[in-house]
Symmetry: C2
Subunit: 328 residues, 2 copies
């Protein structure tokens, strides 16, 4: 318990009456005669010997740390993702080095460069940086954006989610749909939410409008759009699919303020599956991302034997959940 | 950029045409003649030399990592705290090793023991484990619970917060107050929320009731308590102070379901300052914890020169914010 008491493998060898090589084998889980195993175990226990992870990392050229790069933790979707990744890593005796960037490109790149010094065993990142360079020797997984052929992109099935949202609204009686998004203009996986939505509306012959703003836009621009479509206290659209739950939450607040009844007059579906306080009520009716599975799959990928061929893209199934902003 | 290209200090020395000692001095910010400094800098740049943090950690007997131990990240208060700690560490070029425990005592202790192997520069933890042992050589800060005289406890001013909540409710016209809490029965800083509340009610001569349940209790027990105090559609209490915003959110939902109007008939104040999606509307009227400052103070404490005497307890000021569940 005292950091000054430096117990080394040599001390363990002396105490156990075995060679240094035997101690090394036991510590690295290489089989030795049972008698030696027991003697080393007893000596480790008696002396309170800790494996020096740094010496081990230097020897192995990698540590038990995995770098996780996210924009922030105040957005509940990112918090849930970090929570699940941290648990998935812990289940495999790895630890999470968390880096928050607020999507600042320079900071993202600086952290990625740090990964070499940190000798991390892998990188899991969520970034919209178009020029991000990831060192080729480090296994990496990107959430929601394709970073190139060497890095697996893990995401929810955004296309199916968009389709599902449109179909649900149509099934619930909506006849004039709108899709609303504020997001990066870089090509990314979440674009498919719109593509699936458009496909389902087109197939059903239902008129629709897509209002897509760049991520520099503020919600007041969405308010202007909605205001321009309110006539005699009625919104021109009776069903809205929002690209995130945050947007759905903001649209709901705006419509309620403007005395437009949700879900009676307008039904809203978000995307993500955010719950109040993490595990309370859903914020809105929503397409739920399988965050726990996305985390587990990402962790398994970066820790898998690198000689295995890994897929370029993994899309995990979503489901609709009613959270009060749709009739059903 | 390639992990296989092992550039060492020796390579840098050869390239710069200086001794190994000079390179070491430059890397450790020890002054050398400007000419040597420039030659080493140029060689470092040319060869793409990275300081090997693990070798450095072994030499210094500590790393640039700080262990942060929290119950989870799905609770938005913990997510905010982790977010702020991570940024405060990054501002000082330290990184956060995050460990989540769901308040499991064994896991908390196991992670603390890991801190020695990880050679962390400090520990910031939020735990209610009564028997937690923290290695004496590692600077540690505990959030919200006193772990003993060697470990500074950083918290919001819980007592002042409790007083503030009661005073605000009384000022807003409430005449029958209740305090509701589900929490650890271990003595801890958050007990003072109740103490301050009781003091303010007593001073004002306002009748009050405290309903405090152990953390094994579920919200249905609070529902039973509230139900037993609803007569002819009216609650016996016209002002409720909840020990957390989560509880306030749950009480609000229960009263609304039971057609009791908030804030008209009953006013509710929570504690924490949780906002929807981290930065949107407050969940309820609340006593806001200065989370950013708590994080910054905690980080500064563990990274401060350990020869300085550190205070046993630091309590940071709170403030009331109206979030729709009080009249004012």
């Amino acid at each position: 318990m005292n950091e000054n008491r430096k117990i080394t493998m040599k001390d363990v060898a002396r105490e156990a009456g075995v060679s240094l090589g035997t101690v090394s084998k036991v510590i690295n889980n290489i089989p030795v005669q049972q008698e030696y195993q027991l003697r080393v175990d007893a000596a480790v226990e008696k002396l309170g010997y800790h494996v020096n992870r740094y010496a081990k990392a230097l020897r192995m050229n990698k540590s038990s740390f995995v770098q996780v790069i996210l924009p922030n933790l105040h957005n509940p979707f990112f918090a849930k993702l970090a929570d699940c990744i941290c648990r998935a890593l812990a289940a495999r005796s790895y630890e999470m080095l968390l880096m928050l960037t607020e999507s600042d490109y320079d900071r993202e790149q600086a952290y990625i460069y740090l990964s070499e010094e940190q000798m991390v065993s892998g990188i899991i990142c969520l970034t919209y940086n178009p020029d991000l360079v990831i060192p080729s020797g480090i296994p990496a997984v990107s959430i929601d954006r394709n970073l190139g052929p060497d890095i697996t992109c893990v995401s929810s099935d955004n296309y199916a989610g968009g389709e599902m949202a449109a179909k649900k609204l149509i099934e619930n009686g909506c006849r004039h749909l709108a899709f609303i998004r504020i997001g990066s203009s870089l090509p990314n996986e979440t674009d498919k939410r719109k593509d699936g939505f458009v496909r389902a509306c087109t197939d059903a012959g239902i008129p629709f409008h897509c209002e897509c703003l760049n991520d520099s836009a503020s919600f007041s621009e969405i308010e202007s759009f909605l205001s321009a479509h309110i006539q005699h206290g009625k919104l021109d659209y009776d069903g809205i699919f929002c690209a995130t739950d945050l947007l759905a939450y903001q649209v709901l607040a705006f419509l309620t303020e403007n005395r437009i009844r949700v879900p009676k007059d307008v039904q809203i579906i978000g995307y993500d599956g955010v719950r109040h306080f993490g595990d309370q009520k859903l914020v809105c009716s929503t397409i739920v991302q399988p965050v726990e599975e996305m985390a587990r799959v990402s962790v398994n990928l970066i820790l898998s034997d690198s000689s295995q061929r890994i897929p370029y893209s993994i899309q995990l199934p979503v489901q609709f959940a009613s959270g009060g902003t749709t009739l059903f």
